[in-house]
Structure formats: structure tokens, C-alpha cells
């Protein structure tokens, strides 16, 4: 029995973007993590910030793992399940490294900002110089540590760049409250304040949005 007790406080091993996201979340808030995997982030948010954090995950094995560790996770799909929640049910709705894999990214963002006051979105940046150079010089779909699967196997059907995301947010009238681009190892970098440079050197992007 005690083996099943949720003792999974693994912040120091947590994925970089999850650590950055966790820093953006207000203590005690209501959080929905879409594509929560095994629930590492919601566990962290509950344990360190007292959040009412819940998750949705499409992969049943991950869901079973998370629930078996006492985390409130339901099997579901960002494209079809968000419409079920009432308006304003959450303070933060998180979509980490999943936007590029959903069927209708624009609709998912709309739903996130309908059911939540704020949306936090992280995604791998397809504008990174390595990606660009592989396509330019190699003439083939890029394969990098971040974009690690061949074009015919990848679930990432909607890759986008940091500038693409700025453009979509403007089109939809969202307010970008914070944004940052980071290298995979998370080191600080002088280019992070300039969108064009961030789009070239940032491997991942992180945005906090709210409705206007």
C-alpha cells in the first residue's frame, strides 16, 4: 500500500519547460495540464504550491501510471475534451509541448482561454537555426534532438515557429503576458528578449496568454 503513496517529488529532474511553467503558476490556483504525461507537473504543483492541479492525457499507459500514483488524470484528447468544461473553470490551463501535435491548434487555444483565465503554452520552435539549416542545406525534413522523429512517424503535425505564434496570438487578440525562448539546457541568453533572435536560437518557446 505504502508503495503506491504519491512520493514523486522530482523537481530537480523535471523537464526544463515544466520547471519554467511551474514558476509561472500562482500558488493555490486551479490548474488543468493538457497532455500531462505521467503527471509530473501536476504532482509538483500540488506538492510545492498547493494547487488544485488536474491533468488530461491521451496515452492510456501514462494515465494509468498517473492515477496509480494518486494523481487526478483523465484519459482524453485536447481536440475533443476541452469543450466539455465550463467557462472559467481554471486559473491556468497548461499545454506543454503538445500544441504542435493537436489537430486544431487555434481551436485548442480558444478552448484553453475559455475554460481558463490564463493559458501557458510551450512548444518546440521550428524556426531554430538547426532546423532551418537542415532543410536549406540538406533538403530533407529536419531531425534534431528536439525534432527527433522522421516525418512519416512524427505526431507533430502542426510545427510552428516563435514568430508564427506571435502572429496567431495577435490574430486572435490574445494578450501575451510573458514569453521566453530557451535553449534545451535552459541557460540564459542575451537573445531571449528579441523575437527574431529568439526565433533563430531558441529551441523551445514558452508563452503566458490571457484574453484581451
Amino acid at each position: 500500500m505504502n508503495d503506491a503513496a504519491p512520493i514523486r517529488y522530482v523537481a530537480k529532474n523535471m523537464r526544463l519547460d515544466l520547471r519554467l511553467i511551474a514558476d509561472m503558476v500562482t500558488p493555490g490556483s486551479r490548474v488543468l495540464d493538457i497532455g500531462c504525461g505521467d503527471g509530473t507537473l501536476i504532482d509538483h504543483l500540488f506538492r510545492t504550491k498547493g494547487c488544485d492541479a488536474r491533468g488530461i492525457e491521451i496515452d492510456m499507459a501514462e494515465v494509468t501510471h498517473a492515477v496509480a500514483h494518486g494523481l487526478p488524470v483523465m484519459q482524453g484528447d485536447a481536440d475533443s475534451d476541452l469543450s466539455q468544461y465550463p467557462d472559467g473553470a481554471f486559473d491556468f490551463v497548461i499545454l506543454s509541448r503538445t500544441l504542435q501535435a493537436v489537430e486544431r491548434p487555434r481551436e485548442v487555444l480558444r478552448q484553453m482561454l475559455r475554460i481558463g483565465t490564463r493559458a501557458i503554452v510551450s512548444f518546440p520552435n521550428f524556426g531554430h537555426w538547426q532546423v532551418r539549416s537542415q532543410l536549406l542545406w540538406g533538403g530533407r525534413m529536419p531531425m534534431t534532438p528536439v525534432w527527433s522523429r522522421p516525418w512519416h512517424e512524427t505526431p507533430n503535425i502542426h510545427p510552428c515557429t516563435i514568430r508564427d505564434f506571435f502572429h496567431l496570438a495577435a490574430e486572435e487578440g490574445y494578450v501575451i503576458e510573458r514569453w521566453l525562448a530557451v535553449a534545451e539546457d535552459g541557460q540564459r541568453a542575451p537573445w531571449r528578449r528579441f523575437p527574431a533572435l529568439a526565433n533563430l536560437f531558441g529551441e523551445q518557446a514558452l508563452f503566458q496568454l490571457r484574453r484581451a
Binding site: 500500500m1 505504502n2 503506491a4 503513496a5 504519491p6 488544485d52 488536474r54 492510456m60 494515465v63 494509468t64 498517473a66 492515477v67 496509480a68 500514483h69 494518486g70 494523481l71 487526478p72 488524470v73 483523465m74 484519459q75 482524453g76 475534451d81 466539455q84 468544461y85 465550463p86 473553470a89
Partner: protein, 398 residues
């Protein structure tokens, strides 16, 4: 039909632990059953705060003997894999209660009960009870035991309907709810299979319009056929193929007569049917299947299942099984989505299994891990103390 080798102990003679409520229970149909008897079993110890109680709700043909040998059949409890010391529902930690349903035949008020004191049994005059009535009878027992809030209500199949009804009717009395392999209503297909079973009972000459008790007989063949038909719905095609295939019982030669050789699956079903009649009352079967058919939690809330759970603070864990075609995952997902509409705290898992609806009663490690983990997480949120460690052996005296 297999004949039992030894005559079974008479159901009526068996004494069950029970509570009597002299004021009875007013049913949804308007009838008051008086007195109300609720037979139950409990396991583990209620803590001083009375905060560690778990109500287990049994399925159509289950009963209160969850985690101990059955007094009639001698078989292990129907959920011994799930309820017991160190099990997912750990009786070292939780005080587990299971009550025989209203309308049942293991000691709770039902069609075999006498009308009033010493009268003749209700038989088919037993009023139509609902899942809501069954849950109100359970609530009386829980209050009688001095429990204001259940830590968890857990049940599969019809027991899962009870769980949903509990959560909808008494949201503040249920900290965590685990409906397993269930639905918020019976589908047309579910009702259809139940009707086949009921017609089999009606067609048995021994049923005698439901007054079989008056002549000391019982519609054993009809009830056995009902059980056989139902049992098929509890299994998956893969499970039947794996267990029996097309194997013949005996020498496997082609028979010289039409029914000379028996397929193993036939033998299995006949055994299931013939053993069932020794422990179940036909009028109870009719009463309970009807209650399941009429259950429709959404209909009671203007067609919106979400509003049945509006404002709930109960933590839910919905569990389905991939090969269950009686209560398929789509039904569980509908419940999960309704709970989302109510912004409830809900976990939802489909367990991969080829064992069909019966999977919830069988050895399914993923199911058991999920249940144990969910309860442990809820216990943390509820502030329940961890299970006490086994006492150290006292040192031997020199």
C-alpha cells in the same frame, strides 16, 4: 442441466448480520416497506474520527460477502482480490462496509421478506424499487453506523450505478467515488438482455406467477437460463475463445445423437446456471434487473448528467475495461465528460483487458494498482493517517 451433488442449505434459514429500521423506508413508488432490514458485513476498524469508512456496492447477483467465504456456497468472497489486508481497499487502513441491496435475497428486505410481522412473503407484490431506493437504504445503514461522511464509495456494474447515485444524492457524504465498469443508465441492449432473463423465469412452470414459495418450489430452470444468458454478456468473445474454444467435453468423437457431445462452453454455462439457483431468488432477480433498467441518472436531472453533479467536491475515479461490451468505455467516458461539465475532480482510466465485463471481478493488476493509487492519493487529500505498521513481535523472554 447439472444437478447439485448435495442439497444446498435453504436460503431462508440462513442468518445474516443485519439492522432493522422499524419505521421502514418510503420508496419512490409511494409504498412504504416496513420494517426495513439491511443485511451487511464489515471489515477493518472504524477510526476514532469515523473518517476511514469505505462503502462497497455489489453487482446484480453479488451480496455483502465481499471478503470472506460465502455462507451458502463456501466460495471465497467475490472481491477478495480487491478488499482485504494489504489489498487495494486495505482493511488495515479502511473500515469497509457492504450491504445487501434492497430487493435482494441475502437478508435485506426483498421479495422473500414477509409483509409485516410473520406475514406471507411479498413475492411479485414486492414494490418496484429503484437504484435511488437501494442507495437510501444503504444511507440508513451508514447513518446507523455513525458515519457522516464516507471516505469512499466503490462498486462495479450495478454497484457502480449505486456509486453514481450516492455521489449525486449525497455529495457531501462522499469524499471519493469509484464507479467501475458501469453507466449512468442502462442501454436498450442492456434492457434487452435483462428481458430475455426475465422471460426465461416467467416461462418456467415452477414460477407459478411468482408464488412458487407457496408450494415450496422455485423456478430453477428459468432462473438458470436467465443466468446463462446474462453470463455470456459478462464475458468477451476473446475470453470465451481462450477458455473454451470449440473444445468438446469427453472423448471428442462425433456424437451419434444431436446433443450427444457437449461443448465445454455449454457445460460451463450450465454449471453457472445450476449453481446460481442455489443462492439466488427468482423474484429478487426480477426486482433488481428492473431497478437497473429504470436507472437513468441524467433523466432525473432534466437530461443533463452534468447537472446531477453540479458543484460536487467529490473526487471521482472512473474505470472501464477495454473488452467490456455490456458497459463499454463509451458509457464511462460519457460519465467522465458529464463530470467535466460540472468541473469535478475526475480521473478516468480504461484498463486494457480481454476478459470482458467480468474483468472487474478478476485478477487485473493494472486495475488494482489504479484503485490502490487513487485511494492513497485521496487519503492524503482527506488527511487520513497511513495504515498502521504491523506490530513488532515482542522480544522473547529469557
Amino acid at each position: 442441466m447439472d444437478q447439485p451433488e448435495t442439497p444446498p442449505p435453504a436460503m431462508a434459514e440462513l442468518a445474516h448480520q443485519h439492522v432493522v429500521f422499524d419505521d421502514g423506508l418510503a420508496l419512490e413508488c409511494g409504498v412504504v416497506v416496513r420494517p426495513l432490514v439491511v443485511a451487511y458485513r464489515s471489515y477493518g476498524t472504524l477510526n476514532a474520527e469515523r473518517s476511514n469508512a469505505v462503502l462497497v456496492c455489489h453487482a446484480l447477483t453479488g451480496d455483502q460477502y465481499v471478503a470472506e467465504a460465502h455462507p451458502l456456497t463456501g466460495k471465497p468472497g467475490w472481491w477478495e482480490q480487491v478488499v482485504g489486508p494489504g489489498r487495494p481497499v486495505d482493511t488495515n487502513r479502511y473500515f469497509v462496509v457492504c450491504a445487501n441491496v434492497l430487493g435482494g435475497c441475502m437478508g435485506s428486505t426483498g421479495p422473500r421478506s414477509p409483509r409485516g410481522d410473520g406475514g406471507t412473503p411479498w413475492g411479485t407484490d414486492f414494490p418496484p424499487v429503484t437504484v435511488g431506493d437501494m442507495v437510501r437504504a444503504q444511507k440508513r445503514l451508514i447513518e446507523h453506523l455513525g458515519i457522516a461522511r464516507l471516505f469512499a464509495v466503490i462498486g462495479g456494474s450495478m454497484g457502480g450505478m449505486h456509486v453514481l447515485q450516492w455521489a449525486a444524492a449525497y455529495p457531501d457524504s462522499v469524499f471519493a467515488a469509484v464507479p467501475v465498469a458501469t453507466a449512468a443508465h442502462h442501454s436498450a441492449q442492456n434492457i434487452a438482455f435483462n428481458e430475455v432473463g426475465r422471460q426465461a423465469i416467467f416461462a418456467d412452470p415452477d414460477w407459478q406467477g411468482g408464488r412458487y414459495w407457496a408450494s415450496g418450489t422455485r423456478p430453477a430452470r428459468g432462473l438458470a437460463v436467465a443466468r446463462m444468458a446474462a453470463h455470456i454478456t459478462y464475458l468477451s468473445e476473446q475470453a470465451l475463445t481462450r477458455k473454451f474454444g470449440r473444445r468438446l467435453r469427453g472423448h471428442g468423437q462425433h456424437a451419434s445423437t444431436l446433443f450427444g457431445d457437449m461443448f465445454e462452453v455449454e457445460s460451463y454455462l450450465q454449471h453457472q446456471g445450476s449453481t446460481f439457483v442455489n443462492r439466488f431468488d427468482a423474484n429478487s432477480y426480477l426486482t433488481i434487473t428492473r431497478a437497473m433498467d429504470y436507472f437513468d441518472l441524467a433523466a432525473e436531472h432534466d437530461g443533463d448528467l452534468g447537472s446531477a453533479f453540479a458543484g460536487t467536491r467529490t473526487r471521482f475515479c472512473i474505470i472501464s475495461f477495454s473488452s467490456d461490451w455490456l458497459f463499454p468505455t463509451t458509457e464511462s467516458r460519457a460519465v467522465a465528460r458529464a463530470l467535466n461539465r460540472a468541473a469535478a475532480n475526475v480521473s478516468f482510466v480504461e484498463i486494457a483487458s480481454d476478459k470482458g465485463h467480468d474483468a472487474f471481478l478478476l485478477e487485473e493488476p493494472d486495475f488494482h494498482r489504479t484503485l490502490a493509487g487513487f485511494l492513497a492519493g485521496c487519503a492524503e487529500h482527506a488527511g487520513l493517517q497511513p495504515a498502521p505498521r504491523p506490530a513488532l513481535q515482542p522480544a522473547a523472554r529469557p
